[in-house]
Amino acid sequence: MNKQQALALLDDEGYLLDLALWDQELAEALAKVDQFNLTSKHWEVIYIIREFYQEYQLSPAMRPLVKMMANKYGAEKGRSIYLLKLFPQSPPKQAARYAGLPKPLNCL
């Protein structure tokens, strides 16, 4: 998938229009558009966010995301500073984009 094809799937703010289209390959393509490199640590967050959405029909804000990370991966990764290092723009927003989920509504 080239940059043009990837961009055509996104809304004005860069979030996937049709959530059903998401797969790992698309996430990689979206990251590539941003010249952003997804490591296994980023993927942990992306999958947590998708799990959260599955369960609550919401893209999580920072607080629940931190809580989810702590529950699943332990206190070291359940910290906002850890997430901010991985996703410097804004962990809930940036990770939701690559996870193919709607923009988190209640995230500043």
Partner: protein, 135 residues
């Protein structure tokens, strides 16, 4: 450990603005968007670390019943999103005993662990809050 403040405001500035808020759900599910909007306010308050309590009043108590068939109305079920409240540290929920009686419900029928208060306690409860939002 406190969360990093995403607004760029210092923790002290947000501390000074902190007011406790009571949000009232008083409409049945699917009546209009008020319950969904009220839930959005609750989640937004959590982002600002404002303490929020929720009161399910009158027909609003029906919002807490399980087994709603939202798909028949081609609407979204609020129940899953309501279940997320605890993840946003919103865990203070109230219902009135008379509303339970009126619909022949017990607290076990409700999808959130609500505290049951009487009509008399309601006035005192509402007075405890700096802000009451009632859509």
């Amino acid at each position: 450990m406190p969360l990093l403040c995403p607004t760029g405001l210092s923790p002290l500035a947000t501390e000074a603005m902190k007011k406790n808020i009571l949000l009232i759900f008083r409409n049945p599910p699917f009546a209009n968007s008020s319950n969904s909007d009220t839930l959005d306010i609750a989640l937004a308050c959590s982002a600002f670390e404002l303490p929020v309590s929720l009161l399910f009043l009158s027909d609003g108590i029906l919002q807490l019943l399980n087994h709603q068939q939202a798909e028949l109305l081609a609407q979204k079920d609020l129940r899953k999103r309501l279940n997320a409240l605890a993840m946003y540290d919103i865990e203070d929920y109230y219902v009135i005993d008379q509303d339970l009686i009126r619909y022949q419900l017990s607290v076990e029928d409700l999808s959130l662990a609500c505290k049951v208060i009487t009509q008399q306690q309601l006035a005192a409860l509402i007075r405890q809050f700096d802000t009451v939002i009632n859509l």
